[in-house]
Amino acid sequence: MRWKWLIPTLYIVFLLLPIYWLLNMSLKTNAEILSVFSLWPENLTFDNYRVIFTDPSWYSGYINSMIYVSMNVVISVSCALPAAYAFSRYSFIGDKHLFFWLLTNRMAPPAVFALPFFQLYSSIGLFDTHIAVALAHCLFNIPLSVWILEGFMSGVPREIDETAFVDGYSWPHFFVKIFIPNIASGIGVTAFFCFMFSWVELLLARTLTAVNAKPISAIMTRTVSASGLDWGVLAAAGMLTILPGALVIWFVRNHIAKGFALGRV
């Protein structure tokens, strides 16, 4: 087994090659991209990034994406916390059916919901707002949060609840003061997955926005078709969408394996 390290190494090279190529393109001028084929930029330029940071139609996309993603994370986690507690501690009429129904929404193809969502949010005047996208993403993020949190909460011994109630804590007081600190890492993992799925989704985000709340990924598709393919800027925009993900992974790197270990993605 001396050559065992070769397999993950090759796989990582395979993973990083396309990303390196994107980075390479983002540091070239458009003329160089189209005329010379080179493995690294010969005339290093940061102009493509400058375009993105100075043109409001580009950088507003990042701000919009960030706004609706964080709204979604807050809504999903705060709604899911009490529900996950209920599922992990009590049995009540219809609990299994409700859980299954929630799960089906995680599995529902967004393509099915694109058109009805468009009509629903238009009719209540929420079209092209951040909250519309955040609510739409709740469709798959809330079931996911309930599922992940329920796993973490079931790992907390029930004696903790009972002791606290004997000590005279009210339920909300107990929940905030004692229970939440106990599952802090679970909340972190949940927020990570909510961030991830809301950040990468495009179909619903694009359908529900026009100008004011347009996410960066939708702006990218628009530019591909409109401005005669400015490959350099496109590559730079792509690189910048990878950054937030990379940062988030760095912060939760010690918890990722645990979140996956619960197997509840």
């Binding site: 065992k4 390290w5 070769l6 993950p8 796989y11 990582i12 993973l15 090659l17 396309p18 990303i19 994107l22 393109m25 809504i75 709604c79 899911a80 507690y85 209920a86 501690r89 049995s91 009540f92 009429i93 609990d95 409700l98 299954f100 929404n105 599995m107 529902a108 193809p109 967004p110 393509a111 919901f113 694109a114 058109l115 629903l120 709740c138 809330i142 079931p143 309930v146 029930r158 991830m196 950040w199 990468v200 989704e201 179909l203 990924s217 990218m220 598709t221 496109l234 590559a235 990878i242 937030p244 993900g245 990379a246 992974i249 790197r253 394996a257 645990k258 270990a261 197997g263 993605v265």
Partner: protein, 294 residues
């Protein structure tokens, strides 16, 4: 396990989740059901057509082709990604500096927005400016994913392997890490071969996560939309038009609400059936392991 306390007040805790999800799931779904049994000539005038759209759809070539392509695609994805994911997870280091390096780089593709994944591969595969396309052409291989449907399929499959194998790896790795050292020591004392260790210790312990990996990969590949849409737009011809792409074309491109709604419902029912199987198998395994474990 201790029995859970029966308490109907728990419904109040579930209520916020129920309301939010019901708002964004039940209302749109009812709209779809509504459209699927009606026809319109515009002006918001609708009339009842019953099951006609469903009958038409189930007999249409277009639907059959899209469905078949979808099933073949999911089958190919599973046969490549699952064994590859297991192999990589088995070879990953268990301790030392290699662990965070592997975890972070492998999780990276999972957090790239899906259309950026499409864009990355669109650029990477292009014959004129992409590393992959350029290299293949330089080697004398005829490769052009915008014109050749085989090349388009291969590109999308490699792209999906690039994008999602990490999920299988991370799940399997988590499963492997949960095996206590004592198992391996016992195997060593018994003189078990590498294959025997895999067959009788590692594979059974990974059973649960593997099941989740298979089902997640199956469902997500069954719903794939953004990446092939960006890379090929469903082409060349219709060769990479999968179910979701076809559906969006029908609903938003052509505004054929009736057939699109009927297709949505059939599509959703297929997924629902799979989800039910998933849920049943999962809870059975959960019960068995809790019986066996305690």
């Amino acid at each position: 396990m201790i029995e859970k306390k029966a308490n109907q007040k728990a419904w109040f805790m579930v209520l916020p989740v129920f309301l939010v999800v019901a708002f964004s799931a039940i209302i749109p779904l009812m709209t779809v059901v509504n459209y699927s049994v009606q026809d319109t000539f515009g002006n918001n005038q609708f009339f009842w057509v019953g099951m006609d759209w469903f009958r038409d759809l189930l007999h249409s070539e277009r639907f059959h082709d899209a469905f078949l392509r979808q099933v073949i695609f999911s089958a190919i994805i599973l046969t490549i990604e699952i064994p590859l994911g297991i192999a990589i997870a088995l070879a990953m280091p268990r301790k030392g500096w290699g662990v965070p390096v592997c975890l972070i780089t492998m999780a990276l593709p999972l957090l790239i927005p899906w259309n950026v994944v499409g864009t990355i591969w669109q650029i990477f595969g292009r014959v004129d400016i992409g590393l992959l396309g350029h290299t293949l052409t330089a080697l004398g291989i005829d490769y052009n994913y915008t014109q050749d449907s085989v090349a388009a399929w291969i590109t999308i499959i490699i792209m999906d392997v690039w994008h999602w194998t990490s999920l299988v790896v991370l799940l399997c790795y988590a499963g492997l890490c949960s095996i206590p050292d004592a198992y391996y020591q016992a195997a060593k004392i018994d003189g078990a071969s590498r294959i025997a260790v895999f067959r009788y210790i590692q594979l059974p312990k990974m059973q649960r996560v593997l099941l989740i990996a298979v089902l997640l990969r199956f469902m997500d590949s069954f719903m794939i939309y953004t990446e092939p849409f960006v890379i090929t737009g469903g082409g060349p011809g219709n060769s990479t038009t999968f179910m979701s792409i076809d559906l969006v074309k029908m609903a938003i491109g052509q505004f054929d609400l009736g057939p699109a709604a009927a297709m949505s419902l059939i599509y959703f029912l297929v997924i629902l059936l799979l989800c039910w199987v998933f849920f049943t198998v999962m809870s059975n395994i959960g019960e068995e392991s809790s019986k066996g474990g305690t």
